[in-house]
Symmetry: C2
Amino acid sequence: MLVIKVGGGAGLDRDAICRDVAELAASGERIVLVHGANAERDALANRMSVPLRTVVSPSGVSSVYTDRAGLDVFLMAYPGLANTKLVAGLRAAGVDAVGLSGVDGGIWRAKAKKDLQVREGARLLLLRGNLTGRVESADVRLLRLLLDHGFLPVLSPPALSFENEIVNVDGDWAAAVLAEALEAEEMVFLFAAPGLLADPDDERSLVPRVGRDRLEDFLGAAGGRMKKKILGARRAFEGGVRTIYWGDGRIASPVAAARAGLGTVIR
Amino acid sequence: MLVIKVGGGAGLDRDAICRDVAELAASGERIVLVHGANAERDALANRMSVPLRTVVSPSGVSSVYTDRAGLDVFLMAYPGLANTKLVAGLRAAGVDAVGLSGVDGGIWRAKAKKDLQVREGARLLLLRGNLTGRVESADVRLLRLLLDHGFLPVLSPPALSFENEIVNVDGDWAAAVLAEALEAEEMVFLFAAPGLLADPDDERSLVPRVGRDRLEDFLGAAGGRMKKKILGARRAFEGGVRTIYWGDGRIASPVAAARAGLGTVIR
């Protein structure tokens, strides 16, 4: 069982990813694909003049404050544009793909964070009305049913909160919770970098191997998005995942390359 | 087996629809819900200044010419906003709903109409690069699998063309093709009117009963959208559907009211 998380940044070669996933799926491997859509969301928000307020938690993790208009933009980008196009791309590559959001079949349940504590410079603020949450559990009945019948699930945020509200959630964390519920031993994360970088500004500073207990050494230097990937990886290991591959989503055969150890292998 | 098509116009009471569908589903009835999202699409196109060009075919049926930007708006509105919110609403009402587009699992296959012949006044024009199609077949393996395991599928356009391109399709026609493949004997169409109106501008002119072979008498007076509903109904009857209910989606218990004969019953 392999969970692949395709990042939502710009520059990823989605055609190459589809071809690679098609090859793996044809070999009989059970795969769930999780994806983001940050680039689409940011472009849409900009186009629609919906301000996306990036906030920083007291512990230094950045996220986007999500009001009603921001959530709509989120839905347009994730299940709307990105999911439908990825499913169409996979189908064109011969995969019997089925697109889902975490709302469908109750897959992702999240604890809503209505009130968000954020740091602005030296001050701590409380933002209310936030439609973000953190995935706490995954119900994989639907995914197992699809996998057992030869379908490949393609899953993206949002999730449903325990109060049945649609909430924006972090996809890396959500994928980690999912991997635990699916008893996946391997995860592949693809994004717009060669892997974990010792210096976030230098792509030649790839760290090829990291022990899972050393990953947090990189939290300090990591940017907001990479911080989330590190936290997601930690959650995945806690859930029983044994190997995580971080790989470059911009190259040919990106999944195969990551699993061959060309990116960062975390064990 | 019941196929319910919820129109995409403004004014429908989606909460009432969700409650009504939940009651039916709890009674054990097998239901597939198909929906539109015209109102969301038009609002988005307006907001994003994407011109939606409504064109009229030589036979007088209106549709929207769909270029690349128009298709993106379509995806944002249909599988993005409308589908995710409807699924969340159904789940909050206790239904184990799963949202899908016609692309997922190859459900809807459409013949692309790349070149569109349209009438403008007395002239006939040819518009190229159109990303619209007409659904020709439905693959219901995925829907049957979900129904057999207690899930309620919530389906919206787009479809995939035979060339594996995402295409905008008419939902009423697509629902009719689906009903045939599912061997449904009944369909309920909900929209923002009491049913078929003898005078499209007068809601008191409801036609309560129509023989299926008399439906086309109303083609002349019907507006573009109602023309499509009539053509969809004809397609459904050709596929084996025995009774079609057209009902008001703005009232309480709209599905039950339509089936109780409060709208238009077509046999």
